[in-house]
Symmetry: D3
Subunit: 328 residues, 6 copies
């Protein structure tokens, strides 16, 4: 008997139409117990940190819906994540759409429970501030981790409006300050767009964060960009955060702070597939904002990127199925 | 302890935001066993009988999504269906998007299992042909039942294209021929629009079906229309079918065969609320077609109508909670 | 052999799907010779008189597209226009999108040719200025005719921007001045909305035009409104102009100058069907502007209204088929 | 010289196209000094109290845009508000999209400055929580005022999510508790939809608030509804709050908490025009949420309703122009 | 007299606006007789083989509509197809939206008639299953032909749902089995996306089909890709099938089975223009699905690709006009 | 005190939310006096020269709206234009939507006034015919200038429809004939698409205009393209015209004459940023047509391109702030 036979399986769209039934992530079963999974796919339906156009609170549901279009095996890498480890939809983190502090605490609590159960989180946002309470749960008390961040924005501003310290433009400044992230092991890819002040990107650079602007992505090419990323994060424990606004807003209009001239989906796939082998402790996909893309195409793209993240994490967890057989 | 405490409850949107978590009908739990519920809300994601614009296959999922906006209690009637009986989301009927005969058989099988378990079905389509296999499961072998049908079209044509006998324009002709429906106890409300031949509506009238055109709805008014409906169906077992195209297509653009100048939502609510006390063996809501309404507003309207149908069925099943306490 | 057998017939959607083939008005054949038809359905793809939001130039094509959804027989009146007289799609009037004067002359020329061939025109706009060159062709040199105008606006302003005399806000002032319309036999239904100056509606009233505002439509009710209309236009030769903006813009968003709180489609159908027996020399449906309604729902409504106009005109031309047999 | 010649005038769309230039409310000039106007039209671009679908923060700008379609004179009542008093666009209240308490304080400060300058506010939201800080500025310290509220929801819940006391579902409970509103002089029109608990509407009723549900609006008719409203609020100082979700969501889809089967625009106009002569100290139009209506039609409807509110307020301020001449 | 003077010409948009008149392919005349044309542009309004999101049945009409935007001469190659041979719109193949077998037979019959008349078909779908009945008409009984297929999917699955052998995922497996296509002369370009099973693409590869994945397109570049294509199909008779989902779904959202990260329109043009000189017996453009792209932009792209296919076929038929003079 | 302190500043979105207040270009103050600014950003809300799909008249307002999303500093070049010179929103040019000649004269008059005041114009269209009256104001009577034109079309046709000499397809033929542009110093980038006649592009080439087709852009690459542009225009006074349809219509669907396979936003940014140092006398951004892109994404792209043009012009005007201190 194959070891993976006991792993949760998505409903197979070759037998049951993709449009049938309630939508869970990739048509996986809903599971409550974190100990029952290796990877927990979860939603964080919250945009309390958004300074401009809200709507990312609706991201998890629409990504779930579009994820039902995706089949079982990665056509490019041959990876079937469901063969490698136990994966399920663990539902959404509890949030409060109005009380920011309460929401952050609850998100941390939810992810701490996943952490305690041994489940690595793959999260769909929600705005990018969510990465802070997630990192508190994953890393809090331990040594800081590295991060690969795909994003149009560095999200390392100090304050916003009247000195607010917690917004979707500030999470990684806080995470560095709180010792959750090692700035020397942070690389940010796809940075671009107009800025508030000429020195907006000085602070992260001074901390040692490696910012790769879109211009530099073009210059380096995919291979050079990947080399740079790997050089920064190395083999240590690493978090991967893919803000959908890293992608050009024509491909991903459903987001709150669009910046023209971003990554194409082809570049994104090439970069993500080039990250096989990273030591991933978790990943997230924030800033999918359905009200700004009723067609659902942004969520479709998001669901595909989520599948790539899932494949990376499943390999990180599981290695080849044979090797994992004795672990389940 | 209150008897209803043991009934399944929706997630309460006063505590958990409506946009959180996967969408089931009214945020109810998913249940597999028909014997565990009194009313089974199910989807039939199938439009194999559609002759013009397909898309109703996507109806159940979008209605599930929009139904999460609805609270627990009917503000007009004070009914909380979840206090009256056991209600859950039983998932979708199995269908095949290409093989019509196979799909019809499977739908009948799925509903027969609900019937065997004692669960009355409340179904979301899918195109209107689905009512035929449902009625086969509910009525097959027993005496014919009555039907209240809200619809722009009589759906009693004989054949379509090259003599096809099974399309969404023919289900009730077949149901009458098969002895599933008693034509003397069928009333069709909201009939209108252009017709193929001047005698299109003669056959149902000859069988005794009572057609109430939109012109007649206007003349009778809500009260007169309700009197006519009750006079036709009386106290016997009755099926209720609410084709979303009964509603004016400006209010419900997401449908395959729109006919202008239909019922308003206010009229629909008034008519449905006026049907309290009917002996309902089941109900359905076909023809919600999301591709023709990306905004989801048709599904929002559909979800509200579904809630009204649910309230009617819950009262039909349960009567006041006190009376039901010994049944659970 | 039935006399109507020789009349042009639409493709029957009970045999050929509605979405098949190029779209002509009601799936009728294209005909070049005006003498071959009694009623010529034509487009005027021109919005050169539009002062605000252009786009009605695209109206004829989208109305053709949506008109393929309409079946052969009027379900409310039982009229099948194609049994009553010879009807076809005569194509579009030649226009120039930039040169207003040239366009008006060409439109007049096109309709004069229809007139010479004995075909009564049923036209789809195009902005409302088109009615002026049409009336020049139909009436020019003869006695003025009456008009039933459904519209949010009186369209009898004197000038616009810098003294322009020809815009879609002025056609009927010009038509009265040119002796094409008898102001005593003009009735305007559905007038509403904000106005430029308090006396905007004084001039038409002074000429004897009967303006029925929306408030008055509500007060009179459909029957009273119809009585008033008939009292104004009587039995004489009458033109019928149905500006789509007479309809509430939620039902008909695709128009250039929307005014909230207009006629509902149900009221429009009731009013149009109440006009059977008028002596109609022609009719038009202006101001359908597809760019402001990508869904096509406005054009669907427009196509249905056009079908009602066609039924009225066919009865006006033909009487019962038997009586018309000797004319073909 | 006419007294109104000195009043600010909108740009006239008969001379300058409506689509030209930056959009201010009704194409009025921007004015900074509250003492320079009698009525200040302002925006409150803030939806910090929204529990479900955010987006009303974008309301003021889109209403400004659509308001440029409106001409100078009310076609139904003949009122030209710009002849009656000094009206201008005073810009937007300062808000913070993340800090709720700070935003409420700033809104109160902004409106207190208007109040001090003698300008009565006509505000465009923003979510409905904004009415609370506005009322604090207008009424705080003085005797409570009356209110006519058009709304699908009573907005008098006590708390939401985890005991939150300030959300868009609670403003009028707080306003009553704070002595800003006299519950005996509050009337709420258009209440409907599903509710959280059967007793949701008991508290306001117990305080003396008069709730007129949609069912009752239908029963009373416009005249009866108006009589009831006037009986409640009488001649005392009154605030008018028109939540766009009072309107049926097919007419006004761009809102956060849609409830089907609401008021039609025609009913809304009739009701508003029936309120001439009220003693209005201010008015607002909350809950226009553009992300849920990219077409802008909700904002177009909102702009028209705003114009009706403006006409009411202008008459309340000014009386006939002659009488006002000595005041300017 | 120039030989091409006798060829059918599109209406020239430099003289008649593009939006005028009913829409035929490229504004060409409608022709019934296949013997009157060298190339027949036709529609196949049928999506009976669609397993997921239906809607391609509406493709031909919307492509016709958008094709009216295209001028007479290919700006890149200088080819004016209408100078090279006789081209017209031959209407749509007869189909039945419900009966799959009947539809396939009728499609074959329709194309057999074109074949008998000497007209090479250029078809607009419709879902990709349509290529099978077309190939049966073109090739049936003769030696198998080659094929250049642009597609995200190989469409060579064996069965789908419950063993269905005829779906839009299986046509080319059937065509190979039926001896219509020579697998050694099939090349598939743009293959990508998730797959059902790891061996989904093994069967075609085993038959000798050359699959060029998107990754390989990137590696080869346009020139290398073209070399590969030419090496596979050589000079023999070849069919060209361009599934619109070969293109990235952001550029072509209106399709039923979108796969992110596809060809760009620039790549597509470069590849198609690089295929001049192929021996083309026919071509098709399937899977344009308007309900998933109300804006029409997918159809606009489709119409442009269709024009490129037309230019290729016209050169294949005609060679330089001078050489063709004696053939007409 | 820093010299730039006296320059007009946009509202800073780090303090006031981007969605607050009426929308002016980049949230700059409105200024009436041309002498008060170095660069006047203005709208030309006029599409009187449009031969196909109108709507560019709505461009300026929607670009203003989207421009509020842009921050103060160019993240790629570090330029903050508001530090370099005096910049403001000067409103819209007066136009008449119906009278073409009158509009052209008024546009010329408006820009002559700017010219007289010493303000260089940066204009948002409007259709491309607007460039002709602008150039008449800027250059009339003086020596011809050079032009860098990004465009899908050469816009150098002689006449259109019936010999019309002034349309959006002819402005630069007229400008060359009138001696406003030196054809030897014109370079057109991004030319592509189908053409009316094979020789459409011969005339400009014969005059010495350098056309760089999309194929050539691909061949030359950004650096080669920039070299070519600079070689053509040199150091002399140059006008820069960026027709939004130079961009691929998937990125910029809101335009009247879309041609597939255009520039990407990344290429556009790279090309524009490569033009630093040109001697720019003015620039424009025509053909943004909101009705064909209700989402506003085209205008968002347009606003970003406008910001790049502004940075180029500010550097051209100002040089480093220190050098400019004595000029203000």
């Amino acid at each position: 008997m194959s070891p993976s036979a006991a792993f949760p399986r998505p409903i197979d769209s070759a037998n049951t139409p993709r449009f049938a039934g309630p939508a869970t992530f990739f048509r996986l079963p809903m599971v409550d117990d974190p100990a029952a999974v290796d990877i927990a796919i979860v939603g964080v339906p919250w945009d309390g940190g958004t300074t401009n156009r809200a709507g990312a609170r609706h991201g998890p549901r629409q990504v779930r819906d579009q994820s039902t279009l995706i089949r079982l095996v990665n056509g490019a890498t041959g990876v079937c994540p469901y063969d490698l480890c136990r994966i399920a939809d663990l539902g959404d983190a509890p949030v409060n759409p109005i009380d920011l502090t309460l929401s952050m605490d609850r998100i941390t609590g939810f992810f701490a429970r996943l952490q305690d159960g041994g489940a690595r989180p793959l999260s769909v946002g929600g705005d990018h501030l969510m990465s802070l309470p997630i990192l508190r749960a994953l890393v809090g008390g331990g040594p800081p981790v590295g991060m690969v961040q795909f994003d149009a924005h560095s999200d390392t501003l100090d304050t916003y409006f009247d000195g607010l310290r917690y917004t979707h433009g500030t999470p990684f400044r806080r995470a560095i300050e709180e010792g959750l992230l090692d700035p020397q092991r942070i690389v940010q890819v796809g940075i671009r767009g107009s800025i508030f002040r000429a020195d907006d990107r000085d602070w992260p650079a001074q901390q040692g964060v490696r910012l790769i602007t879109m211009d530099e992505v073009e210059t380096l090419g995919p291979a050079g960009t990947l080399d740079t990323i790997r050089a920064v994060v190395g083999d240590g424990p690493t978090y991967l955060s893919f803000d959908i606004d890293a992608i050009d807003p024509t491909f991903a209009p459903g987001t709150g702070t669009p910046e023209i001239a971003g990554l194409t989906p082809r570049e994104a796939l090439r970069l993500l597939r080039g990250l096989r082998g990273l030591n991933l402790i978790g990943a997230d996909l924030p800033e999918v904002s359905p009200p700004f893309d009723p067609s659902g195409n942004t969520a479709l793209l998001g669901a595909n990127l989520l599948f790539e993240l899932l494949c990376l994490m499943a390999e990180s967890v599981g290695g080849p199925p044979a090797a994992r057989a004795d672990q389940t």
